[in-house]
């Protein structure tokens, strides 16, 4: 049986009885067989018993927690079953060695820029300005400069959003808090994506805190931030365009009582459902010659990184080929 992501949007309690995990609240009790769970996204106010947690840990299930505004809070990242000291040591070497780190940081930004350009072209927009950031990237000699090139591309990319979005205004990227509906969706989507990437890292030997583009000194699992850069345009931004332009998510799905705009519970439900459909959507992989889901593409990116740090094959970033 293929394991699935479970998104728990309403409030309730997660407990274990024998070999089943149950989600229960006033509306009743719903069994979730452990062998059906890949990862859990807790979006409501969730109580988890320690028995449930230890069972989830044993089965290697990550639980990602979001607060009631949909902001990412943290993850339950069970002790790992796939541990290779050699991979971790070599991963650290690729951070400590200036040139090796620069290579990977540039690769992530290059992939990110190429994917932003792909998304613009798919939406009938001009991508020359975004692509031109590759020049600054190739000249970058420090991580700051790599970040700078990324910022140039991203600004050019965001400047096209108001022509792509039909029913909502974007204006500029704003976060913490998002100033409008489109930004609220992008923020929420990015934190779901970050969690999805983290789940994939968990199922490899990579260490989640050793990153190359972002500083590992941040408290977070920064490798997930690095890898997420590649997939944000492909998964999150395209989803936002789609939901807005098809009027699936509308103004009534937001709440602006706070110091900004956020998806309300109904909006989050719609978004999460569509997000998961994206993750499960498949494309034909050119090299593997088999269908792989978007979620699996993230795992493949992790495998490519492992091969890179083991000196088996130079890492080339994922660029949307369809």
């Amino acid at each position: 049986m293929r394991r699935k992501n479970f998104y728990i949007v309403s409030d309730g309690k997660l407990k274990r009885k024998e070999n089943t995990i149950y989600f229960e609240n006033e509306e009743g009790r719903r069994p979730i067989p452990i062998s059906a769970i890949y990862a859990i996204y807790a979006l409501g106010s969730l109580t988890v018993t320690s028995k449930a947690l230890s069972y989830l840990a044993k089965e290697g299930v990550c639980v990602h927690f979001f607060n009631r505004y949909g902001f990412y809070e943290g993850s339950f990242y069970p002790r790992e079953s796939l541990v290779s000291g050699e991979v971790v040591v070599r991963q650290a070497e690729h951070y400590l060695d200036r040139d090796k780190r620069l290579y990977l940081a540039k690769a992530f930004v290059e992939g990110s820029i190429m994917n932003m350009a792909r998304v613009l072209r798919k939406n009938g927009e001009d991508d020359t300005e975004v692509i031109s950031a590759l020049q600054a990237l190739s000249e970058a000699e420090k991580i700051d400069e790599v970040m700078g090139a990324e910022a140039i591309a991203r600004n050019a990319y965001y400047s096209k959003f108001d022509t792509i979005l039909k029913n909502m205004k974007f204006e500029r990227r704003s976060r913490q808090p998002p100033e409008n509906e489109a930004n609220a969706m992008i923020s929420f989507g990015n934190s779901l994506l970050y969690s999805a990437v983290l789940s994939e890292i968990y199922h490899t030997q990579l260490h989640p805190a050793i990153s190359f583009l972002h500083e590992p000194l941040e408290r977070r699992f920064s490798l997930a931030l690095d890898i997420a850069e590649l997939f944000k345009p492909v998964i999150v931004d395209r989803l936002v365009f789609n939901l807005v332009n098809r009027k699936v998510v509308t103004e009534s799905d937001f709440d602006d009582r706070f110091n900004g705009v956020l998806l309300n519970e109904n909006g989050r439900k719609k978004f999460v459902k569509a997000f998961n459909e994206r993750l499960e959507k498949t494309v034909k992989h050119r090299k593997l010659k088999r269908n792989v889901s978007y979620q699996r593409l993230i795992r493949l990116e992790c495998y490519k990184l492992v091969k890179h740090i083991l000196n088996a094959e130079k890492y080339r970033p994922f660029v949307m080929w369809w």
Partner: protein, 165 residues
């Protein structure tokens, strides 16, 4: 001899199946078993040899089944005959290892699904062959990761996506 030799049976097997797999396995780069083939193998392993003692561990080797008549018989249970050569050397290695401990044994490769058994015997020439394999394994493991080379059986391997993405 025995002290220096810490090679696991499955490493001998992988040596004949795929050097990349041997290297990855030896460096703890394992894959989670998400494939039904692996689950089936484990199930057969568990259900077929209920009556015998099983999984006897001696140093680096784990023998599938032992039965004492006038000779010790060790068995290696396999799902299919797809990697017969690899299975043969894996079992031969067990016989070789036991012989170094002064235990004479015969081997039997078991294919319960095909209801088929194959005898494996350690003699002078097969022992010499075994020694050259055991010399070569550390050479592969201590070198750089061997580049994946596509073969027909790759598509069924747990490392398929890892190797060819």
């Amino acid at each position: 001899m025995i002290d220096e030799m810490y090679i696991r049976g499955v490493q001998v097997n992988y040596y004949f199946v795929c050097k990349t797999k041997l290297w990855l396995f030896s460096h703890n780069v394992g894959m989670e078993n998400e494939s039904d083939a692996v689950k089936l193998g484990k199930l057969i392993h568990r259900s077929v040899f209920d009556r015998d003692e099983k999984e006897i561990r001696i140093g680096p080797i784990a023998i599938d089944a032992v039965r004492k008549g006038d000779v010790v018989e060790i068995r290696e249970v396999k799902k299919s005959r797809a990697f017969e050569k690899a299975s043969y050397y894996q079992l031969l290695y067990y016989l070789y290892y036991l012989s170094k401990l002064g235990i004479r044994a015969v081997g039997k490769l078991s294919y319960p699904k095909q209801r088929k058994n194959v005898e494996v015997i350690l003699d002078e020439s097969s022992a010499r062959e075994m020694e050259s394999v055991l010399d070569d394994i550390p050479r592969v493991v201590n070198g750089e990761m061997p580049r994946p080379v596509y073969k027909k059986h790759c598509r069924k391997c747990a490392y398929f996506e890892f190797c060819f993405t």
